[in-house]
């Protein structure tokens, strides 16, 4: 393009300029200061990442830019300017027209009653006044640009007919339909599987190089809690903590050389698949400060490992290109966030299998009772002849995308669901379909969602007390209370918490209560079903460390289920990779994370957005009907051999001691794949 050189040198033509933005919400206890003096700016053609944990105020910033805060919120800013327009007054006219938005859950933002086409075309008709036929044609082009196959057909379909990734592509297309100058992305990939996330990220990456009409270039604001995604996509990063901007600068500077203690802590708390088994994670202790009465000094001070005198003073933002709000930034520049020590030495793992499952299967029937009666029901084999063993004191990590059957497998191992087929034995004894109290006592479970895993009408003491009494660990009230105290000590919660109700606890504390309840009968085996997935990174690290310590201290074995391969790589001794109901690869963590690996494992690993790695994702292979009888991954496999993969069930190949891969591709060829970390360029 002739104007390329000109538009590349746009320097101070920031399309968005925010200075000292403050937002407060009225609440029963007074004003809640959600955002406190935040400043940011975005130049055309660049991407700014806004990073922070829940409660940091990042979504409030997005709503403020859109003028969607609601009339009760109090909004103040020295400057809130978009391309020369004052957003305080003109936000309503600009949003959807020149400022596009993509929210986390495209399933909720797309209207289920309207076709995809109607929703993509509408912004063009309303904002640009495009004629219907022309807009429809443009919509098809847009969908094609978003990498949607058969766009003309998709235009006529309804949102529920599309997969999650496709819906998000449509959401992006609808946001771009009115040709905005600024695109706000609020956790755009958080609800997606990692392989789909990688595809959306490369789509967004392409968008920023895209040129709009008249040589304008799209600016993007990416709101995310995921530092890997931010690193993949953003030119610069701003870190928010409890409503205040604590650090901002270029992505490389902030993520590779963080200056603010909070940024350091966040990075140290992140379980990273490229640094597996790098010892313990560094959690950030404490919780978010009181937003009703903001600390005039540094509000991170109570949780900060570097706090000293002077922190109670209001902190100034210093630095030109790499700004930081901390008076000690210069003195601590080379000191990493401290890592706490393990409390107990690991207990030796026994060689006798504790849990042994052979050919476990379960089928979920679809269709009504009539189909079932007539034997016409197809049904889905959610778990398809899975065999695995877990030894005492061992952590088996089970990883896979949503819907692959990993949670169902966890429930089968606990006999919470009736197995269609297969055997299960525990401590060398077979477990019946309706297990006895002894099995129940020894095999327990920790759930993902700490909000629904605790009965809201019971205090922590009652919740733990019920488990203690049920298993007759103690029966007299005084003894029960002693036991409750012991459990709370074990998960490092104050004993006074026994009198609290779940809603009075933070997410991490609730998860600790869930763990304490699972430990009440002193089990030997615990299924952790996405036990840390709903937690913020800083809290997740603390819970992961706790689980690891408890394993070392008590010799408990875990089946650790997670979609996050970083978490799995951090905690697991052995890893099993699951795809559509079957385990495609199993082995020691070190073996699974390097070649030879199953093509699906390779896809999972290379899809993880890593800090310091820029790479493009391969386009997904053309969709074929899923194989019947053959390899279930054949339709997505980059290395598919041919009809063999579609029709013949793949054999289980032994790649090493305890390392098995279910694939047709000969081992030497699998071993010849490059290491996933080396694929793509590393910065």
């Amino acid at each position: 393009m002739p104007d390329a050189a000109m538009s590349d040198v746009v320097v101070d033509g920031n399309v968005l300029r925010v200075e000292a933005l403050s937002v407060a919400y009225p609440s029963r206890d007074g004003w809640l200061h959600a955002v406190d003096g935040v400043s940011l700016s975005i130049a055309p053609g660049t991407v700014l990442g806004l990073v922070g944990e829940s409660g940091s105020g990042k979504s409030t910033v997005v709503l403020a830019l859109l003028g969607l805060l609601g009339s009760s919120a109090r909004l103040r800013a020295e400057r809130l300017e978009f391309d020369g327009h004052d957003l305080l007054r003109e936000a309503a006219a600009l949003r959807g027209r020149r400022i596009g938005v993509v929210f986390q859950d495209s399933a909720a933002t797309l209207n289920p009653a309207l076709t995809v086409g109607t929703q993509v075309v509408e912004p063009m008709r309303v904002h640009l006044g495009t004629k219907r036929a022309l807009a429809w044609q443009r919509g098809i082009e847009l969908l094609a640009e978003m990498g949607i196959p058969r766009p003309a057909e998709i235009m006529r379909s309804y949102p529920h007919q599309l997969s999650g990734g496709m819906k998000q592509r449509v959401g992006i297309a609808a946001a771009l339909a009115s040709e905005p100058d600024l695109l706000l992305l609020d956790e755009p990939t958080t609800a997606l599987d990692v392989t789909i996330e990688a595809q959306i990220l490369s789509l967004l990456d392409r968008l920023r190089t895209m040129r709009l009409e008249g040589g304008r270039r799209l600016a993007m604001l990416l709101v995310s809690h995921n530092l890997g995604i931010v690193d993949r996509l953003c030119d610069s990063v701003s870190v928010l903590y409890a409503g205040r901007l604590v650090e901002s600068g270029t992505t490389a500077n902030v993520l590779q050389r963080p200056l603010h203690p909070y940024s350091k802590g966040l990075l140290a708390a992140l379980p990273r698949v490229d640094r597996q088994h790098a010892g313990r994670l560094a959690p950030i202790p404490g919780r978010l400060p009181d937003l009703w009465a903001p600390d005039p000094g540094c509000n991170f001070r109570p949780r900060c490992a570097f706090a000293s005198a002077g922190c109670e003073q209001p902190q100034r933002v210093t630095g030109d290109h790499h700004k930081v709000r901390c008076h000690r930034a210069d003195t601590i520049v080379d000191i990493p966030w401290p890592i706490e020590r393990a409390t107990a030495a690991a207990q030796p793992r026994s060689a006798v299998p504790l849990v042994e499952a052979a050919d476990l299967s379960i089928r979920f029937d679809s269709g009504g009772w009539l189909q079932r009666l007539l034997g016409e029901s197809a049904g889905i084999l959610a778990v398809d002849r899975v065999s695995l063993t877990i030894h005492s004191g061992e952590v088996l990590g089970l990883v896979g995308e949503s819907g692959c059957g990993k949670s169902t497998l966890g429930r089968l191992l606990l006999r919470l669901l009736p197995a269609l087929d297969g055997t299960l034995s525990f401590a060398a004894e077979p477990v019946r379909a309706k297990p006895d109290a002894r099995f129940r006592r020894q095999a327990q479970v920790v759930f993902q969602n700490s909000d629904t895993s605790l009965n809201p009408r019971q205090t922590v003491g009652e919740i733990l007390g019920r488990a203690i009494r049920w298993f007759a660990i103690a029966n007299v009230e005084a003894e029960v209370m002693v036991e409750v105290g012991r459990l709370l000590d074990l998960v490092r919660l104050p004993r006074s918490y026994a009198r609290r109700y779940p809603h009075q606890l933070s997410g991490g504390e609730k998860q600790r209560v869930g763990i304490a309840r699972a430990l009440a009968p002193r089990p030997r085996f615990v299924v952790c079903d996405e036990a840390v997935s709903a937690l913020d990174v800083s809290v997740q690290a603390a819970v992961l460390n706790l689980l690891r310590d408890l394993r070392d201290q008590l010799g408990v074995a875990y089946l650790f289920i997670s979609h996050d391969i970083g978490v799995i790589a951090h905690i697991a001794d052995r890893i099993a990779v699951m795809y559509r109901g079957t385990i495609v690869e199993e082995g020691l963590a070190d073996d699974v994370l390097r070649p030879p690996y199953h093509p699906y494992t390779e896809l999972l690993l290379s899809s993880v957005p890593l800090i310091g790695r820029q790479r493009d994702t391969d386009p997904p292979p053309a969709a074929r009907p899923p194989a019947a009888g053959g390899c279930k991954f054949a339709d997505r496999c980059r290395f598919r051999l041919g009809p063999l993969c579609d029709s013949v069930p793949p054999p289980l190949q032994a790649a090493g001691p305890g390392h098995r891969i279910r694939c047709h591709i000969p081992l030497p060829q699998l071993a010849g794949q490059p290491h996933w970390l080396d694929r793509g360029e590393t910065t």
Binding site: S27, L414, L416, P435, D436, A437, R440, A443, Q444, V445, F447, Q448, N449, T452, S453, L454, N455, P456, R457, Q458, I463, R466, A467, W470, F471, Y501, H503, Q504, G514, R517, A518, P521
Partner: protein, 281 residues
């Protein structure tokens, strides 16, 4: 009841007002009969069809009975019909609903199809069916009205329990090996009762109305009882000459219904999480 108003929990004003009025009506139903100088069943042929006066504030009926005394004496019948029927629906409907939610399959199908059958009949017809075959009485009216509202409570309880049974804390109880009774009693019921109570509070109004309607049709308490519906039925013939005979019990019924509705609305405001927002945020 008024002590509740001083509670620091800031109760909804409709609940406070409704509860106060309901307390007043209940008190009138219990002690009111001793405050009037007339026996509600005593005939006084000489004073028949007297308009309201200082002696007879609500006038007298065709037998010369004091209408105010009769309205007061009948209050407990309406209250009993409403609350008694609700108690019966609760006692039958909630356990059935829990059972249907916990034992999916044959048990659930049996209970729910029986409920469908009941719900397909109009309430008055259902009441008529129960009452027509045997001689009517207050107890049977209560039972009949109670039966009418059983299906609603079964469905509600089942729906609420089905949602709760999916929750992880119930899964945790199952992982401990707990059976139906401990799970339903400790985990489900404490969480299920707010919507059930709210529903009951709103349904009592309809139960009272239905009870009176059945009485009006002669299927409730028999003369000389002074059930309000029955009084309206008896006063019908004198509507032109002595409208107060119908008006007094009719207006009383209105006041009672509004009062009970206030309490129901208040309970809903207080207990429904969608209306009260996050009370403990």
């Amino acid at each position: 009841m008024t002590a509740v108003a001083r509670s620091p929990l800031r109760l909804p004003s409709s609940l406070v007002l409704g509860a106060a009025l309901l307390g007043l009506i209940a008190a009138a139903a219990i002690v009111g009969i001793w405050l009037t100088p007339y026996d509600p069943a005593a005939f006084a042929v000489r004073d028949r069809l007297q308009p309201p006066s200082a002696l007879h504030p609500f006038g007298t009926d065709e037998f010369g009975r004091d209408v105010l005394s009769r309205v007061l004496a009948g209050a407990h019948l309406s209250l009993a019909a409403g609350f008694g029927a609700m108690a019966i629906s609760l006692a039958v409907g909630v356990p059935l609903g829990l059972l249907a939610a916990f034992h999916r399959g044959v048990t659930e199908e049996l209970i729910m199809r029986a409920v469908d059958l009941l719900i397909s009949l109009p309430p008055v017809l259902l009441g008529l069916l129960v009452l027509a075959v045997t001689p009517p009485s207050l107890g049977k009216t209560i039972a009949a009205v109670g039966l009418v509202y059983v299906p609603i409570l079964v469905r509600l309880t089942r729906a609420v329990a089905l949602g709760l049974l999916q929750e992880d804390f119930v899964q945790a109880a199952r992982a401990r090996g707990e059976g139906a009774v401990p799970i339903l009693w400790h985990e489900i019921l404490p969480n299920a009762w707010p919507p059930i109570i709210v529903e009951c509070g709103l349904r009592v109004t309809f139960a009272i109305l239905l009870g009176s309607a059945l009485s009006f049709l002669g299927l409730g308490p028999q003369p000389p009882a002074s059930e309000w519906g029955l009084m309206i039925a008896e006063g019908r013939d004198f509507l032109r000459q002595a409208p107060w005979i119908c008006l007094a019990p009719g207006l009383s019924l209105c006041v009672l219904l509004v009062t009970v509705n206030l309490v129901g609305e208040g309970l809903r405001e207080r207990l429904d999480p969608q209306l009260s927002g996050r009370a403990h945020a």
